[in-house]
């Protein structure tokens, strides 16, 4: 089995996972109690009007039929109408998803860039002060509720020091970047619009840091423990015996081998971030998908609920597919034939 075959196998296996996910979400959204049509039209609507809306939404059909109908729409980019906004859910998501995606991705990048070296340093100095400092820092990060950390950052950095903006996604800049991907950093770079880029970046920093606190801790602790385990291996002693500098051993050899478990955590945390971003989005008035999703659930806006959950699920699947690709890169034995050990 070559690397390419491994990738194809992994890639294909995401399709049934996505289908299974869609069945589950679609069914759950419809079997949980509540009357979406009644909620949408309000208490004063007549029974006939409610019946008519139910008919129009296809809620009177058997579930399997509704599902097939929904999937047919999905293939054409139609996710059904949102009961709150009155627009197509796909249109809503196109507006909100890039903001959340930009935020969570940057938060994850921060978490990796900070967490991995922190874990390696802690692992190299097991039970010495750098390890204890990193442990304390991680403990602090995990136990800090994000809404509180966000408010603290706003208070000190945005209001007291005035270094960064407290809320929103972009300031008053002209020209406003043309929307191509919806990711402001990417759009402004494409348009070579430096003013917009700087403003967008400044708005991103605080929410991204807030969101990255918990994954930084996860990644640092996971990297530390797998690093320590790997650092005991014979080949490390061998390299040291040959007089190879410790930093090269740590970062080139040990980290690469122990990175697989860090990758697993990154994949899982990314899904967690997509789901939990809404607290941060609310604190920072971030126009993202998470707050849209929460609103949809509270209002029992079933199409929006299914749409948001599917997008989060798909993003999660894609991220984990990328993680699988990277597994194969970091440890060739994953895809190698004649795999032993």
């Amino acid at each position: 089995m070559g690397y390419r075959d491994y990738l194809i196998k992994r890639g294909l296996s995401t399709i049934p996972m996505f289908l299974g996910l869609s069945v589950l979400i679609f069914t759950l959204a419809r079997v949980i109690p509540g009357r979406p049509a009644r909620l949408a039209l309000g208490p004063r609507a007549t029974d006939e009007a409610v019946q008519q809306l139910r008919e129009q939404m296809g809620l009177n059909d058997p579930i399997w039929q509704q599902y097939i109908e929904y999937m047919r729409g999905l293939l054409q980019g139609d996710l059904g109408q949102s009961l709150i906004s009155g627009r197509n859910v796909a249109t809503d998501l196109l507006e909100y998803f890039p903001a959340t995606f930009e935020l969570t991705t940057l938060a994850m990048l921060i978490a990796i860039v900070v967490g991995v070296p922190l874990g390696v340093i802690a692992g190299q100095h097991k039970d010495k002060w750098p390890d204890n400092a990193s442990r304390l820092f991680s403990f602090f990060n995990v136990s800090l509720p994000p809404f509180w950390a966000g408010i603290l950052l706003q208070l000190f950095i945005a209001f007291q020091l005035g270094w960064l903006p407290a809320t929103g996604r972009i300031g008053d800049v002209s020209p406003v970047p043309v929307e191509t991907t919806g990711l402001l950093l990417v759009d402004s770079t494409l348009a070579a619009n430096s003013a917009a880029f700087i403003s967008a970046a400044q708005h991103l920093i605080l929410p991204a840091i807030t969101l990255s606190l918990a994954p930084v801790a996860d990644i640092a602790r996971m990297t530390r423990s797998s690093f320590i385990e790997e650092y005991d291996k014979d080949y490390v002693e061998g390299l040291r015996t040959h007089g190879i500098p410790n930093r090269l051993i740590a970062y080139k050899y040990v980290l690469r081998k122990s990175f697989a478990s860090t990758l697993t955590i990154i994949g899982l945390d990314y899904g967690f971030l997509l789901g939990s971003a809404f607290v941060v989005e609310i604190v920072f008035s971030w126009p993202g998908m998470a707050s849209y999703g929460v609103e949809a659930i509270l209002q029992k806006d079933i199409n929006a609920m299914v749409g948001v959950t599917l997008v989060v699920g798909a993003a999660f699947l894609i991220v984990n597919f990328v993680v699988d690709i990277l597994y194969g890169f970091f440890d060739p034995r994953v895809w190698h034939e004649g795999e032993s050990e």
Partner: protein
């Protein structure tokens, strides 16, 4: 006679464990001359690998602690300062290991690891930029290193040396991996090699090939070697001299033929007796086990297992190394310093060989040190 390349003098090493302090090495002495192969032989747990790691400077400290002694390499004491080891490690001294399955990084092709040993050996630190370059496989003299690696692998009789460089360890058999490990140890052209049971994990046939290759390298490059093994048969094939080790002490040193012809120390005799022969196993081995290092036996550490034990002497008085004849030392109360070899051999022959009976205290008691 010229100075020895390696002179280990009175080396003592302890380990701190939860059960207490283990005095694992207790005054180890031996020398290795230039171009000479010395085998360090003893049963598992007698401190062979600790000796090797102390010489190589890779003893984990803590828990290990070198409490006394000198390791002189070309006359310089390697224990004198921290940097001394770093300077000779990899460049002049090199080491090959017991288990070829675990001493190669599984995530890099073997050529990448060899190139790193060739490039970064003996360097104190590397910059992040260099780590990245090494990771991406860029280095200044990549061509030259690759050619050198191919040549070495070819000398180790690896078929398709060029292809092997790009393979991962999982794709190679145990024998091939051990050849790669030896090639890697030789890439910086060291003059002193430590081999820590390099054939123990291999099939007997492969073991023979590896020994042949190793001997060939040693003679061709005039290497000096410390060869560690528990197998006297292997030691006989490769070594010029043999040091027999028991419970952290060297008990007998002599030229290989002499050790086999006339073992003096009762432990050496026991070891030789324990070698299974094709004609059937007749020896009885040595009863008992290596003693506990937290509370080693008083006097001679071997006396509880010794068939020739002399009560009142062996369990009381610490043994010294007695020079017997030329180039032979033995640490046993049966002998005296400066004794002629023939006389010592006669005493050895006189001693009861290992039999199945327990050592007889009464009989041992009347025997006295001459």
């Amino acid at each position: 006679m010229t100075d020895p390349i390696l002179d280990v003098h009175d080396l003592s090493v302890s380990f701190d464990t939860y059960e207490g302090r283990h005095d694992v090495l207790n005054g180890v002495n031996f020398t290795i001359n230039e171009g000479e192969t010395v085998a360090l032989v003893g049963e598992t747990g007698c401190g062979k690998s600790v000796t090797a790691r102390s010489v190589m400077g890779t003893l984990p400290r803590p828990p290990g602690d070198i409490t006394s002694g000198k390791i002189r390499y070309h006359g310089d004491n390697l224990l004198a300062d921290e940097d001394a080891h770093e300077q000779v490690k990899g460049d002049q001294m090199s080491m090959i290991f017991q288990d070829p399955m675990t001493y190669l990084s599984p995530v890099y092709p073997v050529g990448s690891m060899m190139a790193d040993v060739a490039t970064y050996s003996g360097r104190k630190d590397v910059s992040s930029w260099e780590i990245l370059k090494s990771f991406l496989g860029h280095r200044e003299n990549a061509e030259e290193i690759r050619e050198r690696s191919i040549e070495l692998l070819d000398r180790m009789r690896i078929p398709d040396p060029e292809g092997t460089l790009d393979r991962y360890p999982v794709e190679l058999s145990g024998g091939m991996r051990q050849r790669v490990i030896i090639a890697m140890a030789l890439i910086n052209e060291p003059e002193f090699l430590i081999a820590d049971e390099p054939t123990t994990a291999l099939d007997v046939t492969v073991q023979d090939q590896i020994l042949d290759l190793l001997r060939e390298r040693v003679t061709e490059q005039n290497l000096s070697m410390l060869y560690i093994t528990h197998n006297l048969g292997v030691a006989r094939e490769i070594a010029d001299r043999i040091c027999i080790m028991y419970a952290g002490e060297i008990v007998e040193v002599g030229r290989t033929e002499e050790i086999f012809d006339a073992p003096l120390h009762p432990y050496t005799r026991g070891l030789l007796d324990s070698i299974p022969k094709l004609t059937g196993f007749e020896g009885s081995g040595i009863d008992g086990q290596i003693p506990d290092y937290t509370n080693p036996p008083s006097g001679c550490r071997f006396h509880p297992r010794c068939p020739a034990v002399m009560r009142g002497t062996c369990d009381m008085e610490p043994v010294e190394h007695y020079a017997v004849g030329e180039d032979r030392t033995v640490a046993c109360h049966l002998y005296e310093d400066g004794m002629e070899f023939e006389e010592a051999a006669a005493i050895a022959a006189d001693e009861a060989t290992y039999d199945n009976e327990e050592p007889q205290p009464a009989e041992a008691g009347v025997r006295s040190k001459q």
